[in-house]
Symmetry: D2
């Protein structure tokens, strides 16, 4: 008799195939779940493999649309970034996948969800915290943290032996000396040879983005239009893209072609370990840079400063730490849209061998920038003497500072 149904996040790879077989061996029924999040993947082959191993059912959820609309575009809106450079490609995908997996688990009557994440990474936390928020009574099976499992499968050979025993087909392609995670926003590379943070990744590792030195010699110009901080149109030459999915895909293709968006960092995992990762994050690099630029033209300075100091880092850290479905992230998310009411306009951009060059920006609706008023050559609507008062008031505190330091024999210095 079955010990109940488990919804397993299945990738088609060796690990989750072994986990699938092992769960069956433990007496569970298994629903194999995959999310189409824009990664390059042979979903049919994965389905066949899962069913061959013994899954009760295979469910593929296409979540690309909600990934762009609910997660990626808001990330652009808030300029999300972790530790200065990482645009959170993996982190951003997790809430969407978790939600889809819980939906499948509920629909299929599963009492538990399972995943193949290691016990040292961020993803286990991202998935499990999401599962618990979305369905507090769900059980989580994490074989790589279960001594029975991880002691049995201590090395890759154990996995291969077990696969052979269970008749699990194994692709003959030699394993790459790193692991990857891909979705429409990015691909990550980590582990293996990359664990030496001074090891320069081989040129053939990079998969999605053209090497800047191989990118076209001709630059490519394009224009991105925003409404309330969200991309609403992308124009590349004669072509116009207007739905979120189209815009995102087109931004991705053109940025990848022109070598935009590779990074290589040592980052801080939530689990208190540092880790080296390389990322190709072409579309977010392009869209975020355009958005930041338009904010210069259209966003009030003080609103921007509050958003930059409080909202952007809080949101980014919460996403990184797998805390999308938490009270605090719900709270922080509520702060994104109200900051963006005036972020309306368009940015003209040139892509060239890895560079995203701003050519200009404009807005039909916003009034914060006023060329005449800012002009050094004009005095319209501005009394230069006002600035004298402005400085005089600021100077009150400053003079006291200078006097006090001098009086104490500790004069102000560089």
């Amino acid at each position: 008799m079955s010990k109940g149904k488990v919804c397993l996040a299945y990738s088609g790879g060796l690990d989750t195939s072994v986990i699938l077989a092992w769960l069956l061996e433990q007496g569970y029924e298994v629903v194999a779940f995959m999310a189409n999040i824009g990664q390059e993947e042979d979903f049919e082959a994965a389905e066949k493999k899962a069913m061959k191993i013994g899954a009760t059912k295979f469910v593929l959820s296409d979540v690309r649309k909600e990934f762009v609309e609910k997660i990626l575009f808001p990330a652009v809106q808030v300029n999300a970034v972790y530790e200065d450079v990482y645009l959170l490609g993996t982190s951003l995908a997790r809430p969407v996948i978790s939600k889809a997996q819980i939906d499948v688990a509920e629909k299929e009557g599963c009492f538990a969800v399972a995943h193949g994440c290691t016990g040292k990474g961020n993803d286990q936390i991202r998935f499990e915290l999401a599962f618990y928020a979305l369905k507090p009574d769900i059980k989580c099976i994490a074989p790589w943290r279960d001594p029975e499992f991880f002691n049995r499968f201590a090395g890759r050979k154990d996995l291969l032996d077990y696969a052979a025993e269970k008749g699990i087909p194994v692709t003959q392609t030699k394993a790459k000396p790193w692991s990857t995670d891909e979705n429409m926003a990015h691909i990550s590379y980590e582990a293996g040879i990359l664990e030496d943070p001074d090891c320069t990744p081989p040129k053939d590792m990079w998969k999605l983005i053209t090497d800047p030195s191989d990118a076209p010699n001709e630059p490519q110009d394009l224009t991105i239009f925003f409404e309330k901080g969200l991309p609403v149109k992308l124009v590349i030459g004669e072509k116009k893209y207007t739905t979120p999915l189209e815009i995102f895909h087109a931004a991705s293709s053109i940025a990848r072609k022109h070598g935009v968006g590779r990074i290589d960092i040592v980052e801080d995992r939530y689990i208190n370990l540092k880790s080296r990762g390389c990322y190709e994050q072409a579309p977010l690099t392009l869209l975020r840079k355009a958005h930041v630029d338009l904010e210069g033209l259209t966003l009030d300075r003080e609103v921007r400063q509050l958003r930059d100091q409080f909202v952007t880092p809080s949101y980014s850290r919460l996403l990184y730490n797998g805390s999308y479905f938490t009270p605090e992230c719900e709270y922080v998310r509520s702060m994104i849209q109200p900051s963006q009411n005036t972020v309306n306009g368009q940015v003209r951009i040139r892509l060239y061998k890895g560079n995203v060059i701003i050519l200009g920006r404009s807005s039909e609706t916003e009034n914060l920038y006023d060329a005449t008023e800012s002009s050094m050559d004009e005095l319209t609507g501005f009394q230069p003497t006002d600035t004298t008062g402005f400085i005089a008031i600021q100077a009150i505190r400053v003079k006291k500072y200078g006097e006090s330091k001098k009086a104490k024999g500790d004069p102000v210095v560089l």
Copy 2:
């Protein structure tokens, strides 16, 4: 009889030459002051011109060394940046110049200082607040905010007429349709045709940095070494640079050659106006990027987060707003060094047509990154079951959130 001595920040250009003559006309003696801050300038010609117009004395202060050591390197240490992209090249120069000008004013017995800044910009504030902190009883003469002056010289023609009348030599080169400010860290372009934020700057405007498309086809590799967050060595091929000034100059040359560091933004002036500026900031772009990368390897996550959220934006805003010599900036500066004790190591970098590509990084002294420990393939020194507890504790709050939302009929959603 003289109304007293004034120390005028003199540039050799039309404006400050007219101001010099006008101050003399008002009955002041004038000490013409220039700072060598690494800009391209014919200091001798400026001296001759000042003396010809009637300055009592011309003083040139070479402040390049203290500019690098006291200001630019600490800015690298704290990753200073304003509104996401501007590395503060102009702002950073102001404290050093102000200090030198006050020193000259004191030495020469001047009761006042004067400058040629407009009444709409940031620089007037930066200079004057610095003057008041350094010498609270100093008088500031700001002709462009004095109705008597700005009403008399309402246009460029008035300045030229006055120059002619006073025998002030005017260079015949046609004025460029923008204005610039240069020092060893950067050059700025603003005003004129740039006041249309959608006007792409002409290719020949850019002066210091090679256009990425004209930069060498061969990439250039180099290594930057840091101690406590400060650059201490730069190695480019066979060449080694070790003093701050050498390092800064070499970083500048190589980055400029490879097209690194141009930006074009609309920024928020302190004076509550938005303004468009283009900047070439090659050396800070390179050094800052290397520093950020090394922090990934060597800086504790939580120290970094506190520094990133509080210190970096506070310091950057204060510098931008001309508040270097204030109690709050003294306070914030005291927070830079204590964050950098572990930022020791080296970063290998490739420059290529505008790209700064990280090739790898390492540290002989720091232990925060541990390849074995982070390895997904290793379990040494780590109990995967610990993570189960870690997640379980985090999940307490998360489950309550999910339950509460469900109980209120407002379930958790994407």
Copy 3:
């Protein structure tokens, strides 16, 4: 012929009466405006006086309801406080008064508004920034910053002489050696003898709140109910108060009676001067304390922390600095309500001679506190071993810190 109509914020006192007469003398028509903001005031006498002096019209706006609903209760919701102790009583009134004055100015066809604020205080800024936001083309007349006015009326005697000349009735009561500003939320005392920050205010200065030593010997218990962070019911013995205005008034009476809410501080004006103020802020002291307590029971820790660190201080500073009607304050205000969804429940309180003592709190709807779960005597629903994992993960970073410090010969110390 009239130079146009001016809407003057009129108080009935000597200063604004002189200003009224002076404005008439300058050739303006004057609409005298007063706001009923809950202060103790003889509005009829003020009206008579204004009309006698020559006002075209006298308009009294009763803004008490919107003051409580739009401003005071949200201030309680966000726990607003400036520099640790000041509950912003004066600052909070300014937006409501300004709005009412602009409404009157528009309705009466005034091209300008005028006020009697001094040139050194916060109020001039609060009023004028509000005026400009609400009606950007309005003119502001601030006689105490107009040299023609302040040079003519250099001392109190000049005002009295002018009043005599113009037939303005002056009350014979001797001026108190301090000035006050009152509304339903508080009264402020400043200037005069209080300008010595070491001068203890005389007992008879305090007007609204019973001296704790004279307050009843019997404590008074009461219960305050909140919904989404807003007070919705106040129960004192048999009496129940349920509208915002009733609740606020009843809270005020009972707190004043029991000696709650006096403070004495030196604060920082926006204008870069320090200033000494004494305040009686009974109702806000009581309501805020109850609200803070209920948040302990019902608000998520992380939401609270974000709100406490970012929203509360930002909102408080903006209010103090007269920036209620700004983009950044609109933005920050939008962050208040979303933090309060779970702040539902009631707090039992005892008042006794200046003390606000929490007796207990409860909530029918919120689940964050769970006595069983928190109990040290129970293990239900909690694996103590989970904490071991939680600590182990935290310890990773901590051990590295200890090791690194030791390795560098700089061991961890107290």
Copy 4:
């Protein structure tokens, strides 16, 4: 043969006595450690009991002096407070105790430390993180998280039975229906009947502080002197206290006598549970309030604001969460002293039935407050017209806001 020496944090109570016996039973030698942290305790009786049970040695460390100097006074300096009201009495003691325990463990050759903290509280984390930072290779034995122990001792009866079996003397006094933790800064009450957050604590629970209604009818005045933010003298009538320990004790006695410092809250444990606690925190309440007041007079506004927003909450949270010995806390601690250079002066205070009333404050050395300059009656050194410029510059952004809102049909409202 012994399994090695363990240093046990021993309290003399039932739990740690049973743990002591149980550790012996497991084959360890045990060094019983106690810290004198100012609690009321019969240390000799505890020593006898420990030795009787079988401890190898009993070590009492008197840490009161360093508790005041290294921890409590810096907490006053930084105005430390957790969740608005809790002055962190328990949290502050933990670093000092942990340090002393590790010192004893090292001196006595112990390979492990043990404690009797429950698995649901904050203290286990505070102790263990401290242990790991101070001695990364130490082992921690936490019986209340060891299934072998907590399953065996599931209830109080099991502990009593074991005590009887092992001949451990048990005091006959009936256990109070709450538990306490005491040190010189405070006493905490939690658990038992207090687990109902709406249960008002019985009057006889409170142990250290006089009930305000029983406090003297005569107020008590005193003066506290600070240098660089640290208390350096306390004057009560004729008596003067000048060493940190004397000052702290005297402040404690007088504040306790006058009913100052009781609180009752629901707080958020680090472990993600809410918990109800009552605290008597007399000396910190008094000293902190005086310190806050003096900062009003002597601390620059902007320094204060930075400290308030970043340093105080960060430091308080880190202390609460047991993170004193971490890189981030070392970093934050380095920010305390530089904020306090100008906090020099004295505060006159009246204590009366629970109230801490500020009577006045003064400073001989600081110049930030200037009565003449702040005076509403004086114009010395201040041009009222300067404020006009100050407001005009601020108004630029504000007017644009008003215009933009109006243009979009969404006018500015309250």
